[in-house]
């Protein structure tokens, strides 16, 4: 029973709560016990709301019990995620919780307010289990740049979970939570989803409010869901999406009700017939691991066998997306991170010297090596005499990247199919001494962010025993369409041997063998 509760999707939990098959308290106790046993080795969590969540789960169970006697209509009217545990990446403010963004410069910071998505999750009845580890200020591709702890990949303890949302990805992959929230500025949801074998989506820029989210690069950042099925990811996205008067970059485009009616099983598979997918040759880059390419091409062949039309296409500016990103994102970060001055909140080294000494000491010691690197890059790109050559040039190339994608949608394609990452999870330390090698880990995901488009990673097999993700990229606001295609692929591959396999190091995390 308890093993099944760990594996249950949010959709299954909701059904079980409604029927009375099991309770939210049983689920929460099962997950908290697993976390207590395994997180010393996994390292996914930075803060747990254990006792608060126990109380909230008990209250949810009372509501379910009382409503069950009132009939099905009353049960259907309950908040959609009532009693369902969700993990938050540690850059989401929630009243009374520490929010560090993985940085020492925010050590001890306690949120005095709720991010809009935290308020929406609470209103939807979700139980916020805690906050998860991340690369400092979401800058990194392996979660190794967290100032607090190492998060391991539950498929192999010697390997990274990807990043920057590595804690949220590992928590869901290791069956510590059915759902979690991440942020994706250059791939920080899709790449760890790929490396840990789960589903992760970066929605269209503006789909989800960022009020109360620690900012990294404001023209790129977007919040999105991690889950173990497309249906669950859609449910979580539907909960957090929508316009917000407190975020002027959030869109008034209505939230797609189709997110709650994703096709399932045979219906989802047969809906693939006649779909048109573009396969961009530039995404099979030099240096891509052969096992990753083989798994992705096999998934594409499966879509074709199900009746989809696959055309090879060219997105010629892909090769310039990485350099464009590594100008735009650090430039915006250097401006956003100017606020960490040790005066109003956060760690402070203002002491005996003058104000400038206090700034230099607070920021020099409070930020870790990768954040310092990005602030330096961004400050340089924006400095007098270099702005036109770097920042303005990058903004122009960005236009060309967006035009490449526009041509694909104008040609009538339903989605782009591509790898989510050029490699499977790598060993700790392998890219830590070479920033350019670390940046290349996001080569397949960055163009999507530059164009503001939605994208997801869905598991499509194993290479050398480690997960590979299939990336689907769509036109603006096509989240429900992309998740429907992912649900179709799930149905096609339902009987694949890797589909029901637990992460290979999961048992060992708890000290069992």
């Amino acid at each position: 029973m308890s093993a099944d509760l760990r594996r249950a999707t949010a959709t299954q939990l909701r059904a079980g709560y409604r029927s009375g098959e099991f309770t939210s308290v049983e689920v929460v106790e099962t997950l908290l016990a697993a976390i207590a046993r395994e997180d010393a080795a996994l390292g996914a969590w930075l803060h747990l709301r254990g006792d608060e969540v126990r109380r909230e789960a008990a209250a949810a169970d009372v509501t379910y019990a009382a409503t069950r006697t009132a009939g099905a209509a009353a049960l259907n009217a309950l908040p959609p995620l009532l009693g369902v545990p969700v993990a938050l990446k540690d850059l989401v403010n929630m009243i009374g919780t520490p929010t560090t963004a993985g940085s020492k410069i925010l050590e001890g910071y306690i949120s005095p307010y709720d991010a809009t998505i935290a308020a929406k999750l609470k209103a939807a009845g979700a139980l916020i289990l805690g906050k998860t580890n991340m690369d400092e200020f979401a800058m990194g591709s392996s979660t190794e740049f967290s100032a607090y702890r190492r998060t391991v990949n539950p498929w192999d303890r010697e390997r990274v979970p990807g990043g920057s949302s590595g804690g949220s990805a590992s928590a869901v992959a290791a069956l510590h939570a059915p759902l979690s929230i991440g942020s994706d500025t250059g791939g920080s949801i899709r790449q760890p989803a790929s490396l840990t074998g789960i589903t992760g989506m970066k929605p269209t820029y503006g789909r989800v409010s960022r009020y109360g989210i620690v900012a990294f690069a404001s023209s790129l950042d977007q919040i999105g869901p991690f889950a173990r099925s497309a249906q669950d990811a859609a449910l979580l996205l539907h909960t957090i999406a929508g316009s917000d008067p407190r975020d002027a970059t959030s869109s008034a485009t209505p939230v797609d009700a189709a997110l709650l009616k994703l096709p399932q099983g045979d219906q989802a598979a047969s809906a693939l017939k006649g779909k048109r997918f573009a396969l961009p040759k530039e995404y099979f880059v030099a240096g891509m691991e052969p096992g990753v390419e083989a798994a992705v091409r096999a998934a594409v062949a499966a879509l074709q066998s199900a009746g989809a039309v696959i055309d090879e296409v060219s997105l010629p500016t892909t090769e310039h997306a990485l350099a464009t990103y590594y100008i735009v994102a650090p430039a915006e970060a250097s401006a956003n991170l100017a606020r960490y001055d040790g005066i109003r909140y956060g760690a402070s080294k203002h002491g005996g010297g003058d104000l400038l000494d206090g700034y230099l000491a607070t920021r020099g010691r409070g930020f870790g090596p990768e954040v310092r690197r990005r602030i330096m890059l961004g400050t340089y790109a924006l400095s007098a005499g270099f702005y036109d050559a770097y920042y303005l040039k990058a903004q122009k190339v960005r236009t060309l990247i967006a035009r490449d994608f526009d041509r694909i949608w104008a040609a009538g394609y339903d989605a782009i199919v591509a790898p989510a990452s050029p490699s499977v999870a790598w060993k700790f330390g392998a890219k830590m001494s070479d920033p350019v090698a670390m940046y290349l880990a996001d080569a397949c995901t960055i163009p999507t962010n530059m164009a503001g488009l939605p994208g997801l990673s869905t598991p499509c097999g194993l290479s050398e025993g480690l997960p590979v993700g299939l990336q689907l990229i769509g036109a603006p606001w096509s989240e429900a369409g992309l998740l429907s295609i992912a649900a179709g692929y799930e149905a096609l591959s339902a009987n694949a041997p890797w589909r029901d396999q637990d992460p290979t190091d999961l048992a060992a995390l708890g000290g069992a063998a």
């Binding site: 910071y109 306690i110 005095p112 307010y113 269209t204 820029y205 023209s219 008067p245 002027a248 970059t249 869109s251 008034a252 310039h320 990485l322 350099a323 464009t324 590594y326 100008i327 250097s334 001055d341 040790g342 005066i343 109003r344 909140y345 956060g346 760690a347 402070s348 203002h350 003058d354 104000l355 000494d357 206090g358 700034y359 230099l360 000491a361 920021r363 020099g364 010691r365 090596p369 310092r372 690197r373 602030i375 330096m376 890059l377 400050t379 340089y380 400095s383 040039k393 990058a394 903004q395 122009k396 190339v397 960005r398 236009t399 060309l400 920033p435 940046y439 164009a451 503001g452 603006p476």
Partner: protein, 101 residues
């Protein structure tokens, strides 16, 4: 493409208000020069007739009424301040006595 000198790295660090050790400056000089090699490749792209995009999903400008709404209390707003004096954040002296007048 010219390489960043140590003095230039120190200047950028000062602009960014990052107090760095000598070793950190040296490490950053090497890292930044590696990354600038990547940036330099953008010069190959012809953008002579291309407009710049600050963002690519264009939203209409949102306006709202300029009316007060509930916000954080003073205590909530100051709860994370490293140093507080009454209803204020306490900071270092900004002007020295000699600079006065």
């Amino acid at each position: 493409m010219s390489k960043l000198t140590r003095a230039e790295v120190e200047k950028v660090a000062a602009l960014a208000r990052l107090g760095l050790t000598s070793d950190e400056v040296e490490k950053l000089q090497g890292d930044l020069n590696l990354i600038l090699e990547q940036w330099a490749r953008l010069a190959e792209v012809d953008t002579s007739s291309v407009p710049a995009s600050a963002q690519t999903i264009v939203q209409p400008m949102l306006l709202r009424d300029d009316t007060p709404r509930p916000s954080l209390s003073v205590d909530e707003a100051l709860q994370n301040a490293p140093s507080r004096s009454g209803d204020f954040v306490r900071v270092q002296a900004i002007l020295s006595e000699e600079a006065d007048g």
